[in-house]
Structure formats: structure tokens, C-alpha cells
């Protein structure tokens, strides 16, 4: 097995993504990141492309950090597993992960912060190469349920918020002009004291987004935008990428309504899963939990060189 840079424009890459990829492996998504993103192919002994992954590199004060690309939930590790028997499948996954882990170590980054897709549950190869492996979480809703069943999963509080918004004539509208989306996303990040990568956000809204891979809904009250939700999707899953409320024009309930409308929109589009895309902030987690999805762990990998370990132990004791 071999890991080498892969040309994402080549047919073999698009065939791989069609077979087992998600929107986060799509050429359009990866092109947004320009030079900071490295995409690699996993090749079998016959030099056939059987898998791929990507990561984002930043240099901060001369320190090389390899991390999950901004706005991506994970490093897009995908592969085709040819084995039939359970133990052979497990062995194959272990082999792939070992190759990826060894390859990452050969990049000699000072610090690694990476997330794996939720469908990759085996991280032992990373553990054995001394990565710290810990779970993060997202919520996923099964859209195969009927609208009534989806509503039944929700907490009373969330249901009442939605009812209140409807009673107050909050209207939901799908938009293709993302000015309000960008503005509210900026306000939300600021409120949460989180750094927003505006270059990538602009690329998502201006280069990536089109009607075949995303939808944006806004809630309006008296013609003013009160909240928004922006989702991207692939053939099976809608990912809630951006959301928030307008602090100048708040309405208790419009955030819940616009998010629930996004869930129903995804369901009507024939998708089978709504992924809330990470819920590690307590207040965000509570908001998502109340929609009644399944708490789904995904694994994160972290590692730091000896020089950086001690300060990181102080800043992020959970990870180092």
C-alpha cells in the first residue's frame, strides 16, 4: 500500500469519490482551499487508487501544524475495502490506518489536530503510533422517519419554540443571495469568540455553493431576517454548516424554526441523514440535542512534539 499526492481532476479520483466519498471529498469542495490543502491518494500494490484523505497545513510562528481543513468536519478519509470476511475487513482497515498514520508522522509537523469521519471507528493504528485518540460528537437525525416521528423526537421546549415562531408569523424563505448568511455567520463567530476564516467562508459561499450542493434558509419577521441556516449536502446527507441569529433582530423561536425547516427541506430532497456537524460547545450541543438526533461519536487525533507538549497540556488538558 502506498500514499502519494493525487490529482483530484483525474477520473480515478472522481470514480473513487462516487463510490465511497462525501461532499467533503468533492473536487469543488477541495478546490476552495487552494494551496493550504494537501490531498493524498491511497494506492494498492497494483497502483490502483483505493482511497484518499486530505489535511490542512498552517505555519504559525514557524510551527508547522497539520489539521482538519476549516469548515470540514474531518480529513475525508475514504477507502474501498475489498475484503469480505469480518476479520479480513478489520485487518484491511487497520492496514489503511497504519499507512495514513505513518505517512502523517513522516510530514514532521510540530502539532497534529485531526478528525476522522464518524464511519471510521478503528483508530488503534494511530494509538499505537502514539497519537492521542479521543471522541468528539455530532448529532445525526435519521430522515427516513416521517415528519410526525421527527417532530416526536424533539423536546417540548424546542417544539414550543417552533410553534411560537409560527404563531408570530415568522416566515421561512430559501435564499440564493448569501449576504445575510455571511453577515450572521460573522456575528455568531464573534459572539462565541471564535476565529472565522473569512477567505474560506467566501469561497464556500461564492465558489462552492450552487443549488445542487447546498441550500440556505432565512427566517424573517416583519420582513427582517432574524435567523439563518446554511447546509451543504451530497447524495445521502445534509450537513448543517452555518447558522445563527441576528442579534439586532432577535426572535425566540426563529432559530429553531429555521433549523427544523432545514431538516424538513433535506428530507423532502430525498436525503436520509441530517448531520448537525459537531456539538462540542455546551450551548450548541444543548440546542442540537433537543432535535432528538443520535449522539454520534467521531474520533479525533492529536499529537505534539515534546517542545509543545507542556504548554498544550496547560491549554488543552483534555487532549495532551
Amino acid at each position: 500500500m502506498l500514499i502519494e499526492p493525487v490529482n483530484i481532476q483525474e477520473q480515478q479520483y472522481s470514480e473513487l469519490v462516487s463510490a465511497c466519498g462525501t461532499v467533503f471529498n468533492s473536487v469543488k469542495w477541495l478546490e476552495m482551499y487552494e494551496n493550504s490543502l494537501s490531498t493524498y491518494g491511497i494506492f494498492n500494490d497494483n497502483k490502483e487508487l483505493i482511497g484518499a484523505f486530505n489535511y490542512y497545513t498552517v505555519n504559525r510562528f514557524g510551527i508547522k501544524i497539520i489539521k482538519t481543513p476549516p469548515f470540514s468536519p474531518h480529513i475525508g478519509l475514504i477507502f474501498m475495502n475489498p475484503a469480505q470476511q469480518a476479520h479480513q475487513r478489520n485487518t484491511f482497515v487497520k492496514k489503511i490506518n497504519q499507512c495514513v498514520a505513518e505517512f502523517l508522522l513522516r510530514q514532521h509537523a510540530a502539532i497534529y489536530f485531526l478528525a476522522l469521519p464518524a464511519y471510521i471507528t478503528d483508530t488503534q493504528s494511530f494509538h499505537w503510533l502514539k497519537f492521542n485518540v479521543s471522541p468528539n460528537y455530532t448529532y445525526q437525525l435519521n430522515l427516513n422517519l416521517s415528519e410526525n416521528e421527527l417532530s416526536g423526537l424533539m423536546s417540548d421546549k424546542k417544539r414550543n419554540s417552533i410553534k411560537k415562531a409560527l404563531k408570530d408569523n415568522v416566515l421561512i424563505e430559501q435564499v440564493s443571495d448569501y449576504t445575510e448568511i455571511k453577515k450572521i455567520a460573522g456575528q455568531t463567530y464573534l459572539r462565541k469568540s471564535k476565529k472565522l476564516n473569512e477567505t474560506i467562508l467566501n469561497a464556500i459561499l461564492n465558489k462552492f455553493a450552487h443549488t445542487g450542493n447546498c441550500f440556505a434558509l432565512v427566517a424573517r419577521l416583519n420582513n427582517k431576517v432574524t435567523a439563518m441556516s446554511f447546509c451543504i449536502y451530497d447524495t445521502t446527507t445534509a450537513y448543517y454548516l452555518l447558522g445563527g441569529y441576528n442579534p439586532e433582530n432577535k426572535h425566540n423561536g426563529s432559530g429553531a424554526l429555521v433549523l427544523y425547516s432545514s431538516i424538513l427541506h433535506a428530507k423532502k430532497a430525498g436525503l436520509t441523514c441530517f448531520d448537525f456537524e459537531g456539538s462540542m460547545l455546551p450551548e450548541v450541543e444543548e440546542n442540537f440535542r433537543e432535535f432528538g438526533g443520535d449522539l454520534t461519536p467521531y474520533q479525533t487525533l492529536s499529537k505534539a512534539g515534546n517542545l509543545y507538549k507542556l504548554p498544550l497540556k496547560l491549554i488543552k488538558p483534555q487532549l495532551f
Binding site: Q85, A86, H87, Q88, N90, T91, K94, T121, D122, T123, Q124, H127, W128, K130, N132, V133, S134, P135, Y137, G152, L153, M154, S155, K158, M280, P282, E285, R289, E290, F291, G292, G293, L295, P297, Q299, K309, L310, K313, L314, P317, Q318, L319
Partner: protein
């Protein structure tokens, strides 16, 4: 909700009304009289809804909280009364939050325990700055037929079984746990690992009964050369320990003991065989070849910075 220390009598009265997993059973917990910290989870002041337990003591003036020996996790078990999905998840979170708060408030110098694989939500611990690490075990679904289970194991393992048969090794259900103890002790000696002999004796003599344990032993003629010992409840059979005689090695003997345990558990109507942890590469490979599914479970750790640095030097992977 409230978490507070309880005694084993209260646990006994609670488990008498409930079907609980073997590692949460009263008979198992009462093996650990010394250093046992048994925590009750109360919905109201006096309504016990669940519990978990740990080994807690002081060593070199450092207080610690860890899993009890021979136990894969803290035995967390509680009743979640919620029907609605969102409420159910919120209830789980509330339990974990109260446990995290209790452990944090008691300021142990060193915390390292696992939670059962059925509980996936560890966010409350993460938010209290505990480190949560992913570990694994293999679970083998026992619903397929014996032929299907056999077809699912690796060709290497099948060869080992055939070799054992060809060499006329006999694998039998064993009720003489002295023989088990001898082989297990030899294995610990070989690995230069310390064995808690008093507790091993308690498991084999006080806990073990046909309704919660069984063991298979493989013999070459009359000589015992390998064994596997399992505990079980209604749903799951756990491989607890095993061993072989290094002076009479046969590469099919251990496999044969384990395979017979799997078949015996299936015949008892148990749904799952749990290999009980597989984090050492050579052990993991051995278990993987039986064709089970890799199942993550989580360990919760916290240590003060100096302890962490010290432990980091000794046990780098864990800290």
C-alpha cells in the same frame, strides 16, 4: 439528581429487583471490599436509580480512582426513565454531569477508569477537562450458526483448531478452578505482570458458579496446557482471563479453549461474546481473527500536571 457514596447492602436491594450486567452485579461488586468506592446515583434524595464503582485509595500520598482489578469498566448502570429521544439523551448527560462533578469535587490526584461500551456520551467529562480516550474490545455476535461462526474466523485460526484436533488435544469444560489458576499464574509470570492472587482466588472460589462462569481447559493427554475462563450474564459472555503452559506449548491449544468458550456461550443462548479489551497489538490480532466487530469504549483520565508529566514519562501512550 445526586451522586453519593452508598454501601453494598443498598446495592444488593437495588440489584435484587433488576436484571443487571455481570460486572454491575452485587456478587461481583462485593468481591472488592477493600478500597471500594461505590457511588449511587439518586434521582431524588432517596430514590436510587443507578450506581458505579471504583478502586480508590492513596499511594505515596497521591489519591487515585481507577477501575477495580479484573473488571473492564466502572460497572456504570442506571435506569433512564425517559421515553422521548431528546429527553433520554438529556438524562444520560445529566447522569454523566453529576458523576463528573462528584469526581472533580473530590480532587483525586489521578483518575483513570473506563465506562461500559453501551455508554457513548462522555461530553460532561470533556467539559470538566477530563481527558477521554478511545479504547477497543471485540464483540462477536453469536446469532449466526456454528458453521457460520467457524467460516468467519481466519484461516490461520482454523488451521490451529485443526492442528489441535489432529494432535488429539482434548478441550473440556472445567470445574476444577485450581487448574485454571495454575495456568493463569504461569501466564502472568511469563509476562512478568503482577497478579492479584487474593482477588483471583475470590473470583474462582467465591464468585464463580455455573450460572455466572465457565471455563474450558485444553489437555495434551492428561496434561492441562491451555485454558480460558469466562463470566457471563443473560446477554453477554466476557472472556476474563486465560493462559497456557509455556513448557508444553501447542499453537492450537489456546485457540481451542477460546473457541469452545464461544460455542458454549452460543449454546447457552447468549447473544454476544466480548473478548474484553484488545489494546496490545499481539492480543488484538489474536482476538481479531475470531471475526468479531471492533467496539470502542471510553476511558476517562485526569491527573494533576506534575503527576501527568511523571506518568507521561512512564506511560507515554496513556498520558
Amino acid at each position: 439528581m445526586l451522586v453519593k457514596e452508598i454501601n453494598t447492602e443498598l446495592l444488593n436491594s437495588f440489584t435484587a429487583k433488576e436484571t443487571v450486567p455481570v460486572f454491575s452485579s452485587f456478587n461481583w461488586v462485593k468481591l472488592f471490599s477493600e478500597k471500594l468506592l461505590l457511588l449511587g446515583i439518586f434521582e431524588e434524595e432517596d430514590k436510587l436509580i443507578g450506581y458505579c464503582y471504583f478502586f480508590s485509595a492513596k499511594k505515596n500520598n497521591l489519591s487515585y480512582l481507577i477501575n477495580t482489578p479484573y473488571t473492564p469498566h466502572c460497572g456504570l448502570h442506571y435506569l433512564n426513565p425517559s421515553k422521548n429521544k431528546s429527553k433520554k439523551t438529556s438524562f444520560d448527560k445529566k447522569v454523566m454531569t453529576h458523576l463528573a462533578e462528584y469526581i472533580e469535587a473530590h480532587k483525586f490526584h489521578f483518575v483513570d477508569f473506563s465506562i461500559p461500551s453501551t455508554y457513548v456520551d462522555t461530553q460532561a467529562f470533556y467539559w470538566k477537562k477530563f481527558s477521554v480516550n478511545t479504547r477497543y474490545t471485540y464483540h462477536l455476535d453469536l446469532s449466526p450458526t456454528e458453521e457460520e461462526l467457524y467460516a468467519n474466523i481466519s484461516s490461520e485460526k482454523r488451521k490451529s483448531l485443526k492442528r489441535a484436533e489432529k494432535d488429539q488435544l482434548s478441550t473440556v469444560l472445567c470445574t476444577d478452578y485450581d487448574e485454571i489458576k495454575k495456568l493463569v499464574t504461569k501466564t502472568f509470570d511469563r509476562k512478568q505482570k503482577k497478579i492479584n492472587e487474593a482477588l483471583l482466588d475470590k473470583i474462582l472460589t467465591k464468585f464463580a458458579e455455573p450460572q455466572n462462569c465457565f471455563a474450558f481447559i485444553t489437555k495434551d493427554g492428561t496434561k492441562p496446557i491451555a485454558c480460558a475462563f469466562c463470566v457471563y450474564d443473560l446477554y453477554c459472555c466476557y472472556y476474563l482471563f486465560g493462559g497456557y503452559d509455556p513448557q508444553n506449548r501447542h499453537h492450537g491449544a489456546g485457540v481451542s479453549s477460546m473457541w469452545n468458550c464461544i460455542l458454549y456461550a452460543k449454546r447457552k443462548g447468549i447473544k454476544t461474546f466480548d473478548f474484553e479489551g484488545s489494546m496490545l497489538p499481539e492480543v488484538e490480532k489474536y482476538f481479531r481473527e475470531f471475526g468479531g466487530a471492533l467496539i470502542p469504549y471510553y476511558t476517562i483520565q485526569k491527573a494533576s500536571l506534575p503527576v501527568k508529566i511523571g506518568l507521561g514519562l512512564i506511560k507515554r501512550k496513556a498520558f
